[in-house]
Amino acid sequence: MSTTLTPRREPPQPSGPEVSSRRLTERVFRVRESGILAVLIVFVAVTAAVQPRFLDLANIQFVLINATIFALLAVGETMVVVSRNVDLSIGSVVGLSAYLSASMFSHVHGIPIPVVFLAGLAIGLACGVANGLMVSLGRVPSLVVTLATLYIIRGIDILIVGGNQVVARSLPAAFLNIPQDTIAGIPDMAIAVAIVVAAGAYYLRSFRSGRELYAIGSNPDGARLAGISVGKRVFTAFAISGALAGLAGVLWAAQYQTIDSTAGTGYELTVISAVVVGGVAIFGGSGTAVGAALGALLLGTITSALYVLGISPFWDQSIAGFLLLLAISLDRAISVRLLTALRLRSSRGAT
């Protein structure tokens, strides 16, 4: 939560229950994000102890690259989930955008790479706008709408791609090199996505329309009574989620370099897991983009760690599932304890 993270240079405040209740809430919200960091560090430490190669620069770069696409998707998904909605279509959007943008290189000779990125973004935006319109104007639950578009967009993708695929040969070297480019050892892609994550977090924290997404997720009826244009805000969240998924599709093409009609399949579930593991409440109202991105990084790290340790990928999925359960039960436990603590304090404050 934004306000709880601001430095405590408060105006003259009465002492007593107020201050301690704030400290408590602040601590809890820090716990959410630092908890993920702690798990991440433990995981890296254990893996490195068994297999020191895990901490090689090349491997760290590999892990970061792996996590970037999920982190990017997690930012958009956070905006949607925070407003008590869900976007299941992002995996299909990634696939469609990956194929269409990569095939542009063979259709338009010498097309500049930024134009391809813009095209991917536009494709995603169009999908997001369609989702947003159906949810906000059609008043259809987003779970149903985006489940439908998950299949529809994938279907369109399969229609267009058929049995074809785009292969590395047809892609320009500069495009293929994107995942390898680094600044001071840090992959460009990771830096770019970090900037997007920061921007998304800042938007959600410091702008009225961002805060209104939390209000909508926290109490949709109350949001309407407070005069918030719920439809408009939810529409925007879906549009952003779609646009980021389109962007992620282009990155997917650059990273995997062979694109057929299955690109991005199942990504939506990984991203939603990452978002929830990252502390975003699945029924909206709380959570941050930074937490969600950390969740994506954690899941990505686990995948790589298991690979390095030579453990069957089966465990990857199971561990992700266990983490999800852990995150949810932790959330539940924290919120119950926080609630009783706050109740106690306010009753003490009243007497």
Binding site: T6, S206, R211, S218
Partner: protein
Amino acid sequence: MDPVPGATAPAEPEAPAGPQPDVLAGPRADAPAPGPGGADGPAVLSLQHAAKAFGAVQAIADGVIELRAGEAHALVGENGAGKSTLVKILAGVYQLDSGTLLIDGQPATLGSPAVARDAGIAVIYQEPTLFPDLSVAENIFMGRQPLRAGRRIDARAMRAEAARLFAELGVRLDPLRVCRGLSIADQQIVEIAKALSLDARVIVMDEPTAALSAAEVSRLFQVVATLRAGGAAVLFISHRLEEVFEICQRVTVMRDGRHVMTGPLDGLTGDDLVRAMVGRDMPVRTDAERRAPGGQVLTVEHLTREGVFADISFDVRAGEIVALAGLVGSGRTEVARAIFGIDSYDAGSVKVSSRKLRRASPTDAMAAGIGFVPEDRRQQGLVMDMSVQQNMALASLRRLGRHGLITGSAERKFATDWSLRLRIKYGRLTDPVSRLSGGNQQKVVLGKWLGRQPTLLIVDEPTRGIDIGTKAEVHRLLGQLAGDGVAILMISSELPEVLQVGDRILVMREGRLAAQFDHGQATEERIIAAATGQLEGQAR
């Protein structure tokens, strides 16, 4: 819904008790108010001949309210008189079907909550509408947060401003804590701070004191005085008439969606208001239909659920209709739900024919012979998309099934039988129940339970939202069932219904049994007095 004769307008005849309200509405309304300023200030907001219907239900037929700068204006009326609808019209949530709204003498349309807010109207709802995950300060300023460069939210200014508002209100509340876990009183303080921050000229408070302790109420009254001194108009809605007299200068009374009177409170008594709120004819169930009750069927002893109801003890005998009256929120429905086992309870016991029921087990309650017709038939009583016959058979599936399979013909026979007995009007038994009128839907719910031949039937607001003709029929049915020896516990907010149907009347107030009347002793005035805590007669 089927158009039902008489449903579009509450064609309640202006009752024999009619003259008093007119007298009250007459000359005194125009007399200059002797109260401390305010009541003769300029009209800030005025609503005339407002009408609003929901489907066949006319929630407001002729709503009139005029608020003047610097006054606290009370709006009183029985449950269902249309007060809450009127509040939502002022809040911009509902749009008028017809009528005029003037703000500062200019015609205005409140098309949405945002428009109402911008027009300077702040509403504090009965149920606070906060965002539990967000901080107190954000709740106050949502959508209007102070900004700094680049349209970014100025969190420090927001926090400081919230702290200032709380200081003004004289309360200690941390602007940075999340709203989740705040007491109702503190939530209301947040809502009031929101109204203050809006610089609202009209502040509507819908039952603000319902959940407050005495100390919190007096704090609220100070706030109202402050608001008035600042030139705002406060519309105060409360069932507690003593509060109305304490802080308001003028009053508007509504009944059945219509304006009854408006006038200064000076010179009025609580009895005057009650009479204006009630005034209508009261048809009485004939004594011939009433019989001496049989043995005890339901025995409730010291039933307590913390914070909801406490120490409820009563019994219902075979062939007796016990009416449970009281204001909305007094705990009546909760007691019924606890008896039927939908909710648990903390202490006490429920016995049916001397067998103690397990708590929180509707299955056990049904096995003991209890039927429960809930308040909200659409959500809880019926499966709206299922057919008439399926709905009716729902509680008797075990009996109708053969080797666990339900056959259509058994279901149909059962449904035909009961719909004949209850005189249900339907197209086909296979039509979805949502196509029936409200009254017929209610009969389907009744039929569903009657098919189990209950020994005790609990009915919660059995005639809410159904037209007068069907209402009478439901009353006739209940009487007939009692005649057949069924014990009936009826919750009702409609006093004529309570008086007409009940053999014995229990009145709840704030989670406790406040009074008990036998059929002969009860009057509407006595029940209202007991329900609102106005000490009158033998209430309490």
